[in-house]
């Protein structure tokens, strides 16, 4: 029983990471039509930046600064490279972001080494909250809470601010948004930065749980794509749901059928697509 609760809880945590990654990927895909394979690279970068900043500004300072810096770098890369692929064959952006992913990984290896680095989390957060459920450490609760906070902030941004409303409108019909006086080049850059910010935040948090090595992003990116498909293309609530569902599914599977922990998410994706080709909450016609 304790084992099941442990894995369920673990599943929620992993699911929260998938969701955070996948929300950023979804934002970018929905507005710009770019499948950002470099997203895992941005996640790793966020984590390494936090690692390098921590001795100077502490964990909390790094938690604030590293995702912001990652987001700014994202905007710079969008401005320099990615926007040149808009309106072209999707193959261009696929190849570009795929290449960027390799570059990020190698640069991380070059600067911080191929081995994992000691990533310190505050002692305050590493204590278990209760003796009988020793695995529920403060850090795990903290991660879930912070992901929930980030999702809530994203929700408010997208529904309560003009820029967020324009992002959602642009997801639906970007050309019409442009004819209403909105600088859609800038809108796409800001949106890309926002998506990458979420990747950076996921990185800072994930490194405290999974350890930090150059491949940290690689293990999270495929499940994040699966989360988007399961939740349904074009739907951010779907993406969130998809992320948590596949996290929990792999958490439960690891109790009963440990060797299928990774395969189960793909099985889930196949099942969802068979029953509901547009994903759980996907818009009609997005996939066709």
């Amino acid at each position: 029983m304790t084992q099941l609760i442990f894995n369920l809880f673990n599943g929620v945590i992993i699911g929260a990471f998938y969701a955070l990654m996948a929300l950023g990927l979804s934002l970018i895909l929905n507005l710009s039509g770019v499948i950002n394979f470099a997203h895992g690279g941005f996640l790793a970068l966020g984590a390494y930046l936090a690692y390098s900043l921590m001795p100077h500004i502490g964990f909390w300072g790094a938690l604030v600064a590293a995702p912001l810096l990652t987001g700014l770098l994202g905007i710079a890369i969008e401005w320099l490279l990615i926007r040149r692929t808009y309106g072209r064959d999707p193959l261009y952006s696929l190849l570009l972001t795929f290449g960027l992913a390799f570059i990020f990984e190698d640069v991380s290896r070059y600067i911080w080494g191929a081995q994992s680095v000691p990533y310190q989390i505050p002692a305050l957060l590493s204590r278990p909250l209760s003796l009988s459920y020793f695995f529920i450490t403060g850090y795990r609760v903290f991660m879930v809470a912070l992901v929930a906070l980030a999702v809530a902030a994203l929700y408010l941004l997208l529904t309560r601010t003009r820029i967020g409303i324009r992002i959602r409108a642009g997801t639906h019909d970007l050309a019409t948004v442009a004819t209403l006086g909105v600088n859609v080049r800038l809108l796409r850059s800001v949106n890309f930065g926002l998506g990458v910010y979420l990747a950076g935040l996921a990185g800072v948090l994930a490194a405290g749980q999974l350890g930090l090595q150059p491949t940290i992003g690689t293990s999270l990116i495929m499940p994040s794509f699966v989360a988007i498909i399961v939740g349904g293309l074009g739907s951010l609530p779907g993406t969130l749901l998809g992320g948590i569902l596949i996290g929990v599914a792999s958490g439960i599977t690891s109790v009963y059928f440990a060797s299928a922990t990774e395969a189960v998410i793909y099985v889930m994706m196949a099942l969802v697509l068979l029953v509901r080709p547009r994903g759980l909450l996907g818009e009609e016609g997005r996939l066709q």
Binding site: T159, H172, A175, T176, L180, G181, V182, V184
Partner: protein
């Protein structure tokens, strides 16, 4: 100064040549109708003007400013309101949210004022765009463009698919725009109503301007309208 001067527009979709040397103008405060049968190139003309499908050759001046090749948002910022064919409401946004998308320019039109102009809309503020009726969507598309406080308003078949009573409302609004001093370029299949509200008219056929003159003169010549604009008898009788 003219509100709009389009000179020799040559517009393509990929390799297909759609507009062939289209030249037209709209004077300040003038209402101009752009007529023509299906596929004549009316929508393409408007898209060329607002920057969505920039012409390969030719020039566009808006209030004296040479805007050829400008991105759509900069053209809109000059005070060009565009009500596209098929309305293109943001169906995933509520009506209130739809009205927050435009980059409002200062002027008499505010969200409160457009809700006063369209009381039907103010009753449905929380509804999603896709839940609105065709007439409500048309009103919303016009309201959205008015928030730019346009000096030039381009409307693409605003009466398409609407019930006759709603069509009357739409044309009343166009009359009201004229009273506000807004210059209007109106694309319509509803020829009779369009020539009744317009000062001048152009007829496009197969990407070329084939008629240009006073709207009243065109309106008086029913046979001519049928051959030029391809308007069917029913469309001719449709309003009032």
């Amino acid at each position: 100064m003219k509100a709009l001067e389009a000179q020799g527009l040559q517009t393509y979709y990929g390799k297909s040549h759609i507009l062939d040397s289209v030249t037209l103008e709209v004077g300040e405060g003038e209402v101009v109708a752009l007529l023509g049968r299906n596929g004549a190139g009316k929508t393409t003309t408007l898209r060329s003007i607002v920057g969505l499908t920039p012409p390969r050759l030719g020039s566009v001046r808006i209030f004296g400013e040479a805007v050829t090749g400008w991105p759509p948002y900069r053209i809109a910022a000059l005070g060009v309101g565009y009500v596209p064919e098929g309305r293109r409401i943001f169906g995933n946004l509520t009506l209130d949210e739809n009205l927050l998308v435009p980059v409002a320019r200062p002027g008499p039109w505010t969200i409160e004022r457009v809700y006063q102009l369209f009381p039907r809309l103010s009753e449905r503020r929380e509804n999603k765009g896709r839940q609105l009726s065709g007439g409500e969507q048309e009103m919303l598309a016009i309201a959205r463009a008015l928030l730019l406080n346009p000096r030039l308003l381009l409307l693409d078949e605003p009466s398409q698919g609407l019930a006759p009573l709603i069509v009357q409302d739409v044309f009343k609004i166009i009359g009201a725009m004229r009273a506000e001093g807004i210059s209007v370029l109106l694309v319509e299949q509803n020829v009779r109503a369009a020539v009744a509200v317009a000062d001048r008219a152009y007829v496009l056929d197969d990407g070329r301007i084939v008629y240009e003159g006073a709207a009243a003169a065109l309106g008086a010549d029913e046979a001519r309208v049928r051959t030029l604009a391809g308007a069917s008898a029913e469309k001719w009788e449709a309003v009032d």
